[in-house]
């Protein structure tokens, strides 16, 4: 077992080592402090935080609905809402264009009535990132909701709390570790989003050119810089994921003969 686990670890560690090994360390600082890189980094941080916030605001109710209601087609609905996790992002981006673009199912009305065009805006970046990142939050929170002891919620209801008050004061605090974990995963995914973003939002420095796009474009002209930028992203994601520790899974239970 451990041998196989070791191989698996190596398999994940080697590519990182590869990047570290090829990285042009001497010029790292120059590349990182480059004005365009900083702009892209700032934009990435902003949009990914927005995407995380939106994922929470809409993903938690969605997870709640999936965990708590029973209706026919619930598993189809869950599949629908997690599809973007496994879809090639570019396809996701094209689908978003068809939905929210100027000629899209909904976007055309936005355009006609409000003269509003979502693509090419920072908001579009946030939408694309939310589209691919939200499922991570939904899955984590739904699992937590399903495992939650419902008795305290029942208790709150009998004490006169409305559904909403109960949710806010009882349910939400109880699932907060899972919520935090889901948010972190979503954030990391949003931060790394590339294909859907460039397809749906385009790539313009300062408004839609995020860090992954900058990394990609840098490959054409300056592959060394792209390695450094990629490593920066990896470091950020890694730090965020490490911060999850075991909370991601809930603490392991104590074990007993009687357990």
């Amino acid at each position: 077992m451990l041998a196989f686990a070791g191989v698996a670890v190596l398999f994940f560690a080697l590519p990182l080592l590869g990047l570290l090994w090829r990285a042009p360390w001497s010029k790292a600082w120059t590349y990182l402090s480059d004005h365009d890189s900083l702009t892209a980094l700032r934009l990435s941080l902003q949009t990914s935080l927005w995407a995380t916030a939106l994922s929470i605001v809409f993903g938690v109710p969605l997870a709640w609905m999936l965990a708590r209601s029973t209706f026919p087609g619930r598993s189809a609905l869950r599949a629908l809402c997690t599809l973007s996790m496994v879809l090639p992002p570019v396809v996701g981006g094209v689908a978003l264009l068809f939905a929210l673009g100027r000629r899209g199912v909904v976007g055309q009305w936005l355009y006609r009535w409000f003269d509003y065009q979502l693509p090419y805006t920072t908001a579009a970046v946030v939408v694309a990132q939310t589209f691919v990142a939200m499922p991570f939050l939904v899955i984590t929170v739904e699992a937590a909701l399903r495992q939650l002891d419902r008795a305290p919620e029942d208790a709150a209801r009998t004490l006169g709390a409305s559904r909403w008050y109960t949710f806010r004061r009882v349910t939400l605090p109880a699932i907060s570790p899972a919520l935090a974990a889901g948010a972190v995963l979503s954030w990391a995914r949003a931060l790394g989003e590339f294909g859907a973003t460039i397809t749906f939002a385009g790539s313009y420095p300062g408004t839609t050119q995020t860090m992954p796009i900058a990394v990609y474009l840098a490959r054409e002209t300056n592959p060394e810089q792209s390695i450094i930028l990629a490593l920066l992203m990896i470091v950020i994601s890694f730090a965020v994921l490490v911060s999850l520790r075991d909370r991601w899974f809930g603490a392991a239970d104590r074990v007993g003969v009687s357990s």
Binding site: R103, S203, L217, E220
Partner: protein
């Protein structure tokens, strides 16, 4: 085979599997050329791998199987020759010029490069780091027009997608891209005085497994038959 003296047919009896790494803008044209080549050389077989030119350079330098490499510009080919990954000198097999791509029917009535300066237009270009972006920058400079694009795409098809999806009003792409987009879009010619011509150089790679067949393929491409096919997709003769 003999030297690339532009024979009308390749030497009979060319055998082997030629692996051709070609810029993705050649996808359709080369697919047809491949069919024609194998029809002429039943013993031979051609496998294509299309991708962005610079991705292909990475692949070749990482040892991807390749007998023939075609780049969409000279700068990218220079990376191959600089690294001495080529077995033959680059030969320009086709050229491409740029056009303005607009939606079908040209609803915004765009006629010239200067029209792109209209701030109400949604214009999308390629990023300056990729070949189509370099071309666009040069054309706009030639025409002394300042355009504020909404997006700088990582590849030319990004521009095409935006226009065909109706998300952009216009973009600057290769003439061949306009043609490939078919009925979803149409092109507005850019006059020769401001236009930029981009070369498609072709080489046999250093690690070619079937160098002879590779050369035969290049010969076929540069032959009249090959050139005729390229021409139908909008490529200019070298």
């Amino acid at each position: 085979s003999d030297d690339n003296g532009a024979p009308t047919t390749t030497a009979p009896g060319t055998t082997g599997d030629v692996v051709v790494l070609a810029a993705s803008s050649l996808t359709e044209a080369f697919t047809e050329i491949g069919d024609a080549f194998t029809a002429a050389n039943p013993e031979a077989n051609v496998t294509f791998s299309f991708a962005g030119s610079s991705d292909l350079v990475t692949q070749i330098s990482e040892g991807a199987p390749a007998d023939v490499f075609v780049s969409a510009d000279d700068a990218t080919m220079a990376k191959i020759t600089d690294a001495a990954l080529n077995a033959t000198d680059p030969v320009v097999m086709a050229r491409n010029s740029f056009a303005i791509i607009v939606e079908q029917g040209n609803p915004k009535g765009i006629a010239t490069v200067a029209d792109l300066a209209d701030p109400d237009l949604v214009v999308v270009l390629c990023a300056g780091s990729v070949p189509c972006g370099k071309g666009a920058v040069a054309i706009l400079a030639n025409a002394a027009v300042t355009v504020t694009p909404k997006s700088l795409e990582d590849k030319v098809k990004g521009v095409v997608t935006k226009v065909t999806a109706g998300e952009a009003d216009a973009g600057i792409v290769f003439v061949t891209d306009v043609q490939a987009a078919g009925s979803a879009a149409e092109g507005v010619d850019i006059p020769a005085d401001v236009n930029v011509i981009s070369n498609y150089p072709i080489v046999v790679t250093k690690d070619a497994q079937h160098a002879d067949a590779a050369q035969a393929f290049i010969d076929f491409v540069t032959s009249a038959d090959g050139q005729a096919i390229l021409a139908t997709y909008g490529f200019l003769a070298p």
